[in-house]
């Protein structure tokens, strides 16, 4: 018995931040090796933004009015598209079980995975969105606000989405169910983001929306990983 204890003590368990960084790094590397997983949601985002002017007509005033909303809805949908695969490949090849039995706290590991997901889905959206915003004749000053709202908002979307992805991992009809679970929860983020941009376009005070988005991001950063970890444990019993 005492022998076991000494070996346990001798085997150094890496710190929490090391675990966080390692999980995030692994997922980033996986994304780098499979660029399609990152690019497809981006193309989807661009496609949705292209469909709207074709559907509602090319008038510049109308596009200027609907631009913020369209971009935000497209961003929300494309984040949803990539969420399904957040835990799926880990579930299929068994590395999820390794995460569950690892001595590291599960919420931290989950946070690492979610941050990697944000870097490969939310962050690219932030940088692609100006190109599309210009086609909606959005002024440059507003484009900056939009990038800020998208950066803050997609953090919350990734974190909220990770809860849904954890709840539906391993279910057959996962994708449609995931959208049904996440869309009502994600609604406030989209509403705050799109309206802050719309207010900025009107030369109105938009900072309330930015602060609210930042608060939402901080709140979900601190709470969502626990819910996701609990959901993962339940789904993998």
């Amino acid at each position: 018995m005492s022998q076991v204890d000494t070996t346990e003590a001798q085997r150094e368990i890496p710190g929490i931040l090391t675990g966080l960084a390692a999980t995030a790094k692994r997922d980033l590397l996986l994304a780098w090796k499979r660029p399609g997983d990152v690019l497809n949601p981006l193309f989807f985002f661009a496609m949705v933004c292209t469909l709207f002017p074709l559907a509602v007509g090319p008038s510049a005033e109308q596009l200027e009015l609907s631009g913020p909303g369209v971009l935000w809805v497209a961003a929300l949908l494309s984040t949803l598209l990539s969420l399904n695969s957040l835990f799926l490949s880990d579930y299929e090849d068994g590395s999820l079980d390794q995460l569950l039995v690892s001595p590291q706290p599960l919420p931290v590991l989950v946070l690492g995975k979610t941050l990697a997901h944000w870097m490969t889905s939310g962050l690219p959206l932030v940088f692609v969105s100006p190109i599309l915003a210009i086609t909606y004749s959005m002024p440059m000053s507003v484009v900056g606000v939009m990038m800020l709202t998208l950066a803050l908002g997609t953090i919350s979307l990734s974190l909220l989405g990770s809860i849904g992805a954890a709840l539906t991992v391993g279910l057959h009809r996962g994708t449609a169910l995931l959208s049904l679970l996440i869309l009502p929860l994600a609604m406030p983020v989209m509403l705050l983001g799109a309206n802050a941009v719309a207010l900025a376009a009107n030369n109105d005070v938009y900072t309330t929306g930015i602060w609210a988005l930042a608060a939402y991001a901080i709140g979900s950063l601190s709470l969502a990983p626990y819910a996701t970890a609990a959901a993962l444990r339940i789904s993998n019993e």
């Binding site: 679970l181 009502p184 509403l191 819910a227 959901a231 339940i234």
Partner: protein, 248 residues
């Protein structure tokens, strides 16, 4: 007290108690609703602004209140089930969800019918309560969809409890974000009136209490069937069905 509580949490005991309790909620509930409907439609005076159209509040307000109440019951029952691992509590959550969705739907329909003469439209996106209520309906749908997608009952119980708890935090945020959003659009002045007169208010109270009692009775009935289904392979269910009373 605690002993009584623990005893209640055992399915066979609950099944017996609820059979006695259910009609005691149902009958007063129906009487109060009957009075409320009559008093609300015939005795209460016409509203000086809204005319007869205001009378829909006697259905609308109780349904809207129960739609949120049911969510609270569903989420807290789920939390109790997660924390103390009480099986009955998960049955309560499972039974509350469709009822809550039904009342939410009723609240939305009556709100929409009320909106037609008042605002001139069936649906007003600018009103924060309509939008939050719609999101609540979607939350119920998501909850029920998750439950039905997981075949293993204990797993479905726990997963949906997590979802309900995440949703409860979100209901608050949805409410405030929609309120902030709609304050940019327009204010609702239709509702800003003085206190209601007593002959309008008393039927409303009767309806509120009556709806709550009816809801309680329906919930008990749903929990009973849920318990029976979940315990279908146990001895007590078999004994009860084979007993001379036939499990009435």
């Amino acid at each position: 007290m605690w002993k009584w509580f623990h005893k209640l949490a055992s399915p066979p005991h609950f099944y017996r108690i609820s059979a006695i309790l259910s009609p005691w909620l149902l009958v007063p509930g129906l009487i109060l609703i009957g009075y409320g409907v009559y008093a609300g439609l015939f005795l209460a005076p016409m509203d000086y602004q809204q005319g007869d159209a205001f009378r829909i509040i006697y259905v609308h307000v109780p349904s809207a209140y129960l739609s949120m109440m049911a969510y609270m019951i569903m989420a807290s029952a789920g939390a109790i089930g997660l924390i103390w691992r009480i099986k009955l509590s998960h049955a309560v959550a499972a039974a509350a969800a469709p009822l809550g969705a039904a009342f939410t739907f009723l609240a939305l329909c009556t709100g929409s019918i009320w909106g037609r003469p008042m605002w001139g439209t069936w649906w007003e996106w600018g009103d924060p309560r309509l939008t939050s209520e719609l999101i609540l309906l979607f939350l119920y749908f998501g909850y029920m969809a998750l439950r039905s997608a997981i075949d293993d009952t204990p797993k479905a119980d726990k997963a949906s409890a997590v979802l309900a708890l995440v949703g409860i935090v979100n209901v608050v945020i949805v409410h405030f974000s929609v309120e902030w959003w709609s304050s940019l659009h327009q204010g609702q002045t239709v509702f800003k009136k003085g206190t209601m007169s007593a002959d309008m208010r008393i039927p409303l109270f009767a309806m509120l209490i009556g709806f709550t009692l009816l809801f309680g009775s329906l919930l008990l009935r749903r929990i009973r069937t849920e318990v029976l289904y979940r315990e279908r392979r146990t001895k007590w269910v078999k004994e009860m069905i084979l007993s001379p009373e036939g499990g009435a």
